[in-house]
Structure formats: structure tokens, C-alpha cells
């Protein structure tokens, strides 16, 4: 009973940690629609948000859920929705709208096994590319990928902070394993947790959609007469539905405000990437196999290193490139049929031999043994 009195230790499910983190990050609005394996987030927030004066509501579908969340954000509050693959499909149109209107909000996609309703209760990692390219048009997304309950907590807070900081929707790309497992987690004391809030305009300001990389964001009802639109608009929110220059200026700025920060946004865990012959690039639940596999491979005298992605998009190119410069072979284990693989291959640009390790079906994880086998094959 060593730690009983330490109130900051919890035994939480991933989805519960996500919901609690949202409350700590200042989330005041949640809208969602039931879907396995994300429903626990809605259930926890339905209980917790009213306790802190917030609103949690179940909408008629995912289209309405994310719409309401974006509306709440324009009302001046931090907002979130949570779903899984099929719901994430439906949310894509509004993710584009949120990107275009520069609306901070957090979208949690707890990945399950698709396409379609596939294996609804089983884990998969097939939404990697959807989280990057899901909505139409040219856009950039910021996507985080937790691999533990602790990270469900930490990256949810980070997602809110990034949303507010960059004035853009943030996707927390979790998966069924991480969302449903229970783990010991340590809650940092409140004063050590950074909570960022959006930049508000000065009373004289009028340009809420341009003139600077990240313009200040007013809320409705504050007297700014803000005109919000997902159509091409100028710095003042006035639509220009045919002007080439206005469109280029807007869409290039929106992409640039994220892409120019790619290095800063890269969030990775690395191990011996400067001194290895075989490298691994991994993310989410799959990455939980690498620690044991690496230990066993090292015991056999293999020189191995890894990069574990806590942020997936923008793709952490610089740090992955570093690995491709030292390792001759790079293994990319994922519970999909090659999604991160091609990114690593692109970044490697022929320097390293990039080897896929894919497994889909039944929610079965890639085991440390399977990974070790691949490592030995590659050696």
C-alpha cells in the first residue's frame, strides 16, 4: 500500500484518461455519437463536464457532433468530439471547415478495424492516412498518437494546447488497445501542467482571418461582428469565391502555419538512432512491442535503434531521416497494410532498406516475437 496516499496515482482506462485530461485542459463542451471503441469518452464527459459547468450532449450523428463542437468553439469555449473510423468518415467535411475557418477543437479518433464496419470491436491502425488527407482540398493536419494510458492523458492536454496555439483542429489518433486498457498513470500536479488559451483580439482589431500567421480569434457575442465562413475569404472574413489571389493567400497561409512548424511539432521517443544498424519506426499500440524486441535483439548482439512517433502529422521527417542515415534497414511495424511505411520510404529516399511488418484482423497486436523475427531476418 505504498502509494495509497499519493492522490496523483490513478488506475484508469485510456478513454477515461482522455476525458479527465480534457476537463483539466479546460474543455467545456463535448458532443458525440455512440460508437465502439470511443463511447467511454462520451460517457465520462457526460458525467464530468456538468460538474465543471460544461455541456456534454449526444447528437443525432457525427456530422452534428463535430458541427456542434465547432460552434461551441466560436462561442469562445474549448470543445471536443470523439469517435471511431465510421464516425471519423462522417466528420471529414467539418474537419475541412474547421481547418478553413481556423477553429480550435479536438477530434479523438479511436481507431478500430475497417474498412466499413469491418471488425467493430477490434483494434486497427488504418486511419493514419485518413487523419492526414481525409477531407478534400489542400490542408494540413496535426495528429498525435498515444501508446499508453499515460499518453492518452498527456496528449489530450497537448491536443487542446496545440489547437488553441495554432487555431486549428487537432486529431488525437488513438486506437482500441490504448483506449480500452487500464494502466497506472501519474497525474502531474496542476501547476506543472501547461494550459494554453487562444489569443483574443484587442477591441480595435478587425482581421481575424489573416494579416498574421495565426490571427487572434474573437467569439460571437463579443461585439466584433465576426464573419466566419468555410468559403475562400479575406483577412476580414469576407467571401471571395472566385478570386485566385485571395484563395492562394489564404490556403497557403493555413498550410504554412502548420508546415513551417513541423520540426517544432515533431514529438518522438528515440533510442540509439545515431548508432544502430537496424532501425524501427513505430507508433500507437504497435510500438508497445518494440521495447521487448529490442532488448532481446540486443542480447543477441544486434545494434538496434528506434523512433517512436508521438506525433504523426506533420510527419517528423527530420528525426526519421536521422535514423535512415545511420540504419541500413528500417522496419515499420503497423496494424494496417502499409501507411506509415511509405512515409518512411519517402524520407529514406533510398538510403535505407525499408521493410514493412503488417498485421490486420482480430485486433491482434504485432508481438515482440514477430518483431524480433523480422529484426533477425533483416540482420
Amino acid at each position: 500500500m505504498k502509494q495509497l496516499r499519493r492522490e496523483n496515482i490513478r488506475f484508469w482506462q485510456g478513454n477515461e484518461a482522455c476525458a479527465e485530461a480534457a476537463v483539466i485542459a479546460g474543455c467545456k463542451f463535448f458532443a458525440g455519437y455512440p460508437i465502439t471503441p470511443a463511447s467511454e469518452i462520451a460517457e465520462h464527459l457526460a458525467e464530468r463536464l456538468p460538474q465543471v459547468g460544461g455541456v456534454a450532449i449526444q447528437m443525432e450523428d457525427e456530422l452534428a457532433s463535430i458541427g456542434a463542437a465547432v460552434g461551441a468553439s466560436w462561442a469562445g469555449f474549448k470543445a471536443m468530439t470523439a469517435t471511431s473510423g465510421p464516425g471519423f468518415d462522417l466528420m471529414q467535411e467539418t474537419i475541412g471547415w474547421a481547418f478553413m475557418t481556423e477553429t480550435p477543437c479536438v477530434i479523438v479518433d479511436v481507431q478500430r478495424l475497417g474498412p466499413s464496419t469491418g471488425q467493430a470491436t477490434k483494434c486497427g491502425q488504418g486511419d493514419v492516412m485518413q487523419s492526414r488527407w481525409g477531407t478534400h482540398g489542400d490542408y494540413s493536419s496535426i495528429v498525435l498518437s498515444p501508446n499508453s494510458v499515460q499518453e492518452m492523458f498527456e496528449l489530450t492536454i497537448k491536443a487542446f494546447n496545440l489547437a488553441e496555439r495554432y487555431r486549428t483542429p487537432i486529431i488525437l489518433l488513438a486506437d482500441e488497445i490504448v483506449a480500452h486498457m487500464r494502466e497506472k498513470i501519474v497525474i502531474p500536479i496542476a501547476k506543472n501542467m501547461e494550459v494554453i488559451n487562444r489569443k483574443k483580439p484587442e477591441p480595435y482589431e478587425k482581421a481575424f482571418f489573416g494579416l498574421q500567421d495565426i490571427p487572434p480569434m474573437p467569439a460571437v457575442g463579443e461585439g466584433f461582428n465576426v464573419a466566419v465562413t468555410g468559403s475562400t475569404h479575406d483577412a476580414y472574413g469576407i467571401r471571395f469565391t472566385a478570386d485566385a489571389q485571395e484563395h492562394r493567400q489564404l490556403v497557403e497561409r493555413l498550410n504554412n502555419k502548420i508546415q513551417s512548424q513541423a520540426e517544432k511539432l515533431a514529438d518522438v521517443e528515440t533510442y540509439k538512432i545515431d548508432d544502430c544498424e537496424i532501425g524501427i519506426v513505430s507508433f500507437g499500440c504497435t510500438s508497445r512491442a518494440i521495447y521487448e524486441a529490442v532488448e532481446k535483439a540486443e542480447a543477441k548482439g544486434l545494434k538496434i535503434g528506434y523512433t517512436r512517433l508521438r506525433s504523426i502529422w506533420p510527419f517528423p521527417e527530420k528525426i526519421v531521416r536521422q535514423l535512415t542515415e545511420t540504419a541500413k534497414k528500417i522496419i515499420v511495424p503497423e496494424m494496417n497494410l502499409k501507411q506509415i511505411f511509405y512515409e518512411v520510404q519517402r524520407v529514406s529516399n533510398g538510403r535505407a532498406d525499408v521493410i514493412p511488418l503488417n498485421k490486420i484482423g482480430g485486433g491482434e497486436l504485432i508481438t515482440p516475437e514477430e518483431l524480433l523475427e523480422k529484426i533477425e531476418e533483416s540482420a
Binding site: 467545456k28 463542451f29 458532443a31 458525467e47 456538468p50 460538474q51 459547468g53 460544461g54 455541456v55 450532449i57 447528437m59 443525432e60 450523428d61 456530422l63 452534428a64 457532433s65 463535430i66 458541427g67 456542434a68 463542437a69 465547432v70 460552434g71 461551441a72 468553439s73 466560436w74 462561442a75 469562445g76 469555449f77 470543445a79 467535411e93 467539418t94 471547415w97 467569439a219 460571437v220 457575442g221 461585439g223 466584433f224 461582428n225 465576426v226 464573419a227 466566419v228 465562413t229 468555410g230 468559403s231 472574413g237 469576407i238 467571401r239
Partner: protein
């Protein structure tokens, strides 16, 4: 009432995008007249949400007010998020028939069921106007449109009746040939709580009228006048006699606990 009233005080100095003779202009000015007559010198207590379609341009970006121009059909969900977090503001949705009862129909029904405290003004031109005149869920039977060249083989939806069934607190239907009634109805709705729905049957000469054989928008207004049946008279008429008619008037006016009331009561209880 000030005779020198001009809607311009509520409008940004931008060109309006409407075709000449568009019914949307009538709906816009009657709304602004109603706001003026109720004493709103400015629209700073209002938030306007709209979707995609000609009538979605009525408030956005033209009104000097907060306006949120959303995706096609999604104005009501966005209005839900805004109203629940800022219950002190008047949240008004403008949309066309395609937007509100086509692609966005489910949101419309659920908002009425929840009794969300918003006013939805649906400009019903019976056609998809902005995209060039395709059949809408409100297009009359047998009407020719670009996607029903032999005449529509579907029956139109009665959005006002649907709103009543779904639980709206206030429902009325007028046409652009009834500007005074429309304005009075808007005034009434603006003074109420809960889900309020006003359907304004409106002329679109460009995409509907010309194909249907109308020479100008006056002819369409004349047609509305002729086809309009007060709801009191309609109640004693047979379904057959009402075919092709436009039932106008107040469909319902009632009090029900609103979503804002019930949600904030729940929050209060949760905090005990």
C-alpha cells in the same frame, strides 16, 4: 414606426448576390424590419448561422453582426453548439429548403425535438437554385426541373407540419407575397423561446419560375397569392382540395421546456 427606416443600417456596404426579383431580398428586409420594430438598433445580441445555398447569403457576410457560414446542411448543429454555450444570445438560422429539409433534415427534426432555443427561417423556393435548378424535397409534384425533365415524380415535404410534429414551439408559413404577415410572424417568434420555425415560400425566377412558365417574379408573387389558403380555412378542406395550394398562417404556438432550460438545470444538479 419610423418611416425613414432603411435596412442599410444593418448591412455591410457590399453588393448583394441575389438576382433581381429574388424572394430572398424580401425575406432579408422583412427580418431586418422586424428587428428594427422590436427596437434592436444593432444586431449585436444576435448570431446568424447559415449553410450553403442562396438564402444562406442573407445574413453572411451582409449583416453587421456575428455570422457563421457553415457547410451545406450543418447550420443547425453549429447553432446548437453556439446557443448551448451562449444562451444569452439570439441564435438565428437562415437556410433554403435544400439546406434545412434536404441534406440537413435530421438536424432540423432533432433540434425541434430537443426544443433548442433557436429561430430557423427557411426560404423555400422549391428548388436547388444556386446549383442551377435541380429538384428539391419541396418541389411540387410534376414540376419540371433540370433533374426532372419530365416533371417531378415525387411528392413534396410539408416542412411546417413536420416541425409541429417534431415538437417546435412556434411554426408559421407565409410567402413573399405576404411581407407584412411574414414580418409580424418574425417579430412574434423573436419574442418567444424554444424552437421556432418560419417557412417563407419564396420566388426564384431564375431557376424555378422560368422553367415553370412564369414571365417575371410578379407573376410568381401573384401565383403565391392565388394559391395561399389561410390555415383556418385549410382545416376544413379535403386533402384533394388542398393539392397545389400553399397553406399559410400560424401552425402552432405553445410552451415547452426548452433545451437551454433543461441542460442548465442538469448542470446545476450535477454541481450540488
Amino acid at each position: 414606426m419610423s418611416k425613414s427606416f432603411s435596412v442599410k443600417k444593418y448591412l455591410r456596404p457590399l453588393l448583394l448576390p441575389f438576382c433581381s426579383g429574388c424572394g430572398g431580398i424580401t425575406v432579408m428586409s422583412e427580418f431586418l424590419r422586424a428587428a428594427n420594430e422590436l427596437g434592436y438598433e444593432k444586431l449585436d445580441k444576435f448570431v446568424f448561422c447559415s449553410g450553403i445555398g442562396c438564402s444562406s447569403w442573407i445574413p453572411s457576410p451582409h449583416f453587421v453582426a456575428d455570422s457563421v457560414h457553415t457547410l451545406h446542411g450543418r447550420s443547425i448543429p453549429v447553432a446548437t453548439g453556439i446557443k448551448l454555450m451562449r444562451p444569452d444570445l439570439h441564435v438565428i438560422v437562415f437556410g433554403g429548403d435544400g439546406d434545412i429539409v434536404g441534406i440537413g433534415l435530421s438536424h432540423f427534426i432533432h433540434a425541434a425535438r430537443r426544443n433548442l432555443d433557436i429561430l430557423v427561417i427557411m426560404v423555400n423556393n422549391m428548388i436547388y437554385g444556386m446549383t442551377g435548378g435541380q429538384v428539391a424535397p419541396t418541389t411540387p409534384f410534376k414540376a419540371k426541373t433540370t433533374t426532372t425533365p419530365y416533371g417531378s415524380f415525387e411528392y413534396p415535404l410539408d416542412a411546417a407540419k413536420l416541425a409541429v410534429t417534431a415538437g417546435a414551439c412556434y411554426v408559421s408559413r407565409w410567402t413573399t407575397a405576404h411581407p407584412k404577415e411574414l414580418k409580424d410572424s418574425i417579430k412574434k417568434a423573436l419574442r418567444m423561446q424554444g424552437f421556432r420555425f418560419i417557412e417563407a415560400v419564396s420566388q426564384c425566377l431564375t431557376a424555378y419560375g422560368r422553367r415553370a412558365g412564369f414571365k417575371d417574379s410578379w407573376e410568381m408573387l401573384k401565383w403565391f397569392k392565388e394559391k395561399a389558403i389561410p390555415i383556418e380555412s385549410a382545416e376544413v378542406m379535403s386533402e384533394k382540395a388542398l393539392t397545389g395550394k400553399i397553406v399559410v398562417g400560424e401552425f402552432v404556438r405553445r410552451k415547452r421546456p426548452t433545451l437551454v432550460e433543461t441542460i442548465y438545470r442538469t448542470i446545476k444538479e450535477a454541481q450540488k
